[in-house]
Structures are given as C-alpha cells and as structure tokens.
Point group: C2
C-alpha cells in the first residue's frame, strides 16, 4: 500500500542526514554523510542525490510529497540562507533551488526551529502535542527553538533564541564578549575551558593528568563519573549556570515544557539534578509549578523529525490549485518557456 511521506534533511556543519518520514513520524529510510564542501553548491547537489537515493529505497508508491530542511544558520524572509559553517553560504536561495529540481514544496528553517518542532511532532518527542515549548540545545554552541501558541517565535530579523548570549553572571571577559556569557561557560568548549583554568590554578585534580592541551568536556564528564572532585565541581557549576538560563526562559516565555537537548545532554548525569533544581527554584514561582523541565530523548534525530514536521505543514498549506499551477509552471519551464 502506498504511504504518504515527506523528505527530511538535517544539514549540519560537518554531517548531513536525510530521511523519508511517514505521517506518524516513522523513518522509512535514512542516510548520513559528511557534508560535501568542495564547491558552494555542492551541498545542494548532495541533497538532490540523497533525495533520489532515498526515493529509490522506498519506491514510487511511497514517494515524498514535500521536503523540509534544517540548516545550521538563519533563513532570511526573502528565503535566502546564511550558514557560517558552510563555505560560501551567505545568501543561498535553498528552497527555490531544491523546488526547481524536486518539483514539490520545500521549506527551510533554522536547526533551532527544527529542534523544537521535532520535540512536538516525533512519537518520542518530549513535548509531543504541546503548543508552548522551549528547546534549549547545548553542544559546541547554544541556541533555543521557541514555540508559542503553536507558532515559531522568529524575531524581527530571524535571530530569536540566541540563548548562548544570555548573561547569567556579572563576569566580563574576552570569551564572554565573543561568544556570549552562557556559551562561554556551558557549551562543550566552555566546559573544557573551565577545566583548563582549574588545572592552571593548581586545582585540576584528575584533569591535570590529561593536560590542558588535550582536555575536553567529555574527559571531564568521565572523571566526574569516577568521583573526581574537581571534575564534579566543574559540572556542578555548569548545572547552576544552565539552571539559571532555564529559569530565565521559563520566566520570560512561560512554556509548558522546556526540553534540553544537543550534544551536552550526553553528560546530563553530571549536571541534570543541579540544573533542574536551580531552574525551578529561581524562575517565576507560579510558572515553576506548571512547567516541565525534561531531557530530549530524540538525540540526533530531533532536527530531522522537525524538518519532517515542517514538510508536512508545507504539504498541507499548498492548496491543490496552487500545486497545479506550480506543476504547470514547472512543465512550461522544462519545455523551454
């Protein structure tokens, strides 16, 4: 039996992942590859090749009716994409380029937006079916996807949710000014930086044995799990700062759910109880009783499933008349008109 499906693409700074997803959020086929950065439009060609390959896996009967793409940057209101980690991507009309070739509606959103939509749409999403959600994503960088009354909060210049810039301490330093306060201390590289500072001050514990040059946030998490007091303290402070940030998100957005995701959630055992306690003790107290603060269970699939959700919305919004016109235009273009 034919299944109605969409194509979801998650473009990251280093990896690209694409999948055919059905209406229930089930992945029928998926493929991950390193991003092809040999030419400016190489990632677009890669997306088209992935679309063909995945379509051939699931067969014509399960062909996708729309495409959603999550990108590591921002989508301007004119549809062009800026993605600082992809060479030459300062003004790529991505949706238009893909639509021209794939002949179905294509929607492109930031990875922050995709992450929050994934949590709302996916069967295992931590905010499934909710309308007011903040997804705080912490990895190499920090960002927040924000849904209010079922709508993505975009901001005046598509720059909302830059949560890594949240000031939660009075500290001032070159890193704080370059990356933002929260990101400078609690993104992966920031945690490593804190560990290195502890080594320098002679309080590095087991971290000193690894050495400041090599030390990563993963190393510190490993040491903390083995009971190293200095490493435990680095993650306790990380939990406090992230907890204050989550408190601020609750007090300002009054969401039903705050979902914590991204690479750092792999070390949640080292900071989660401190984060959650701080968040709920320090936010607006009525909101504290109503909100849920939870860890994402989607791992790397959040963006992909969010992209699928966007594609489903695009498919629904495209009315038959508009689709017919667009097909006619495509045919006319193909005929050289």
């Amino acid at each position: 039996m034919a299944t109605s499906t969409v194509l979801a693409i998650d473009l990251g700074g280093t990896k690209i992942c694409a999948a055919i997803v059905d209406a229930s959020g089930k992945l029928l086929a998926r493929k991950t590859a390193p991003v092809d950065k040999r030419a400016k439009l190489a990632p677009v060609k890669q997306m088209l090749a992935l679309a063909d390959e995945l379509a051939s896996y699931v067969g014509k009967a399960n062909r996708y009716c729309a495409v959603g793409v999550a990108i590591p940057g921002l989508v301007r209101r004119d549809g062009t994409v800026w993605a600082p980690n992809i060479p030459g991507w300062d003004k790529i009309p991505l949706a238009r380029l893909l639509e021209k070739e794939l002949r179905v509606p294509v929607v492109v959103e930031s990875d922050r937006a995709a992450a929050v939509l994934g949590e709302v749409f996916a069967p295992k999403g931590a905010a499934r079916g909710k309308s007011d959600v903040v997804a705080l994503i912490v990895g190499t960088g920090i960002g927040a996807g924000i849904l209010t009354e079922n709508r993505l909060l975009r901001g005046a210049h598509e720059l909302s949710g830059c949560a890594g810039w949240m000031a939660v301490t009075l500290d001032d330093s070159p890193e704080v000014r370059q990356l933002g306060c929260l990101e400078a201390y609690t993104a992966g590289p920031g945690i490593a930086r804190t560990g290195k500072a502890e080594i320098k001050s002679g309080c590095g514990g087991g971290m000193a044995n690894i050495g400041a040059d090599k030390l990563s946030s993963h190393d510190i998490a490993e040491l903390a799990r083995k009971g190293d007091k200095a490493a435990i303290e680095v993650y306790r402070r990380t939990g406090t700062l992230l907890g204050l940030a989550v408190a601020n998100l609750i007090s300002l957005f009054d969401p039903e759910v705050v979902v914590f995701g991204g690479g750092l959630s792999g070390a949640a055992d080292c900071f989660w109880s401190e984060l959650k306690q701080t968040a709920l003790e320090r936010c607006q107290p009525i909101s504290a009783k109503k909100v849920k603060v939870v860890l994402s269970k989607l791992g790397n699939d959040a963006n992909l499933l969010g992209a699928a959700k966007m594609a489903w919305e695009a498919a629904q919004q495209t009315k038959p008349a508009a689709r017919a016109r667009s097909k006619k235009q495509v045919k006319a273009r193909a005929a050289g008109a």
Copy 2:
C-alpha cells in the same frame, strides 16, 4: 461631527484612570481617581460610573464603541482576572460584568500587554507601527510586555514576560528568591535596599544623612544628581544589571525596539548611558546593530493608550452579525428573559 471613539481604563494597584480616546490616539476626556477598595466589586462599579461620566463629557455623538481595560495582574483564558493588589480579585469575570452593563465589546489585558500596545499605537509611542517590540516596565515591580509579529506573547498560562525574575548574577539571597534577581536589585525598593546596605557597610556617603529607615530610590537619584559618589555608584550598578537584562531580552526575542518605561524611567538620567552601553555590548552582536533601545515618552499614559488599542481591535473584530445578536441577547435579558 460625530467621532468614533473607545473607552480606555487603566486599573492600577492604587489609582484608576479612564479616558475617551479617538482613532488617532487622542484623549478627548480623562479622569483619574483612587481605586475604590471598599468592596470586591467596588472597582467594577467605579469603572461603570467613570464610563457614564466620561460619556456625558464627550456627548452622544462621540459615544465609545468598545472598551479596553488594563489590569495589574493576569487575565486567564476563561476571561477571569487575578489582581493581587485589589482585595478579593482572584477570579473576577471583568469583561463579562462590564459588557453586561455597557453593551459594547470589552477586552481586558494585563498592564504589561497594555504597555507594549501603547508604545506601538500612541502618536508619541516609542515603537509606533512596529511589529516586534519588548516594553520593559520598571517601577515598584518589574514586568515586560512582548509583541512578536504583531501578536502579544502570552505564554501557556498568561505568565510570559515575568522579567523581574531574570537571573543576571549568581547572587542568592532571601530577596532574590522572593522577588526574583532583577526585581530584588533594580526595582524602586531594590535600589533603596542597595543604598541601605551601603549605609550599613559605612560607605553610604550622603545617603547616611537621610538614614536607612527613610531612604528611597528617589532620594538616591537626587543625591546622584548632586554628585554624591556613593549614590552615583548605586545607580551605575542598577544600570549594569538592567543593561544585562535588556541584552537578554534582545538575544532571546530579537525585537526591533526595546522600550524602557515605568516609574524608574524618571531617574533615567542616573543610569541610562550605563544601561544602553551594557545592553548593546552584551547582546547577540547582529541584533545589537539592528535593535533600538529607547526610553518611553508616554509616562503614565502607556497603559491607557494600550487599552485604547485593544478596544479598537475588539471593535474591528466584532462583526455586525455578532453585535446584533449580542444586542438582542442584552434586550432579552433586560426584558427578564
């Protein structure tokens, strides 16, 4: 010539103000009075009396076609109002009570929401015609009205914009836990508290002469204007903390304009340059180049003009058919049905 008008009411914790406002935001008649707190429904009766009185001033030809009310609390989705500073106001169906008597559409919103709408609607509004605006209101308490893509951000439980709870330092204290970090330090009573702490530590300067018992944020502002170093330092720190809060609002909401209003704006000369510099240096840098951070020029009229804006929207949204039905119902009720 008859003018189309609305009735705007700003209910505060101590004062109530009502005005007849025309479509251009001009106040045709206004009256301010102390809030009548002798009985639970006394403020409602007071609103009805003010409505009659103001209507008689402007004449039948300029009769209001809708009513907007700003309240110092929250409006639940079922339409009931909670206003902690008005005795017994934990579940007042304010819009319904007023509609029943006034026989025109009535809309009720929080004062935070009214403040941001006032800045967008009023001829002298600092965000006139803008769609993405944050109004940070600092007086005895702190709150933020937030407009995104021309829509009020409400939150899941009508508790968005509780900006006084923003954590911008690592400090922890009974006041911080009771009022929220930002409010504990930078609302009027918080500034006085900082001054009192300086007196206690022997660094109070001219503040010591006033004495800790009497010291207010106004006194400290007066001393700062006269060059008292300790008082200047209290307001410099206030400016830094408020600047970090504004930076966070910019990084999270990406607005076109942040408007600073409320009672504390009367002392803006003591902290504005510090606030603005901190805000723009510490927020997301692309947003910093695009956002405007400005002082409100509306003073006490922001809420009133925002209430007028809501009333205009209610008047437009009420279709002729719906109005006719409602009038019929009112007549039936009046006839004892």
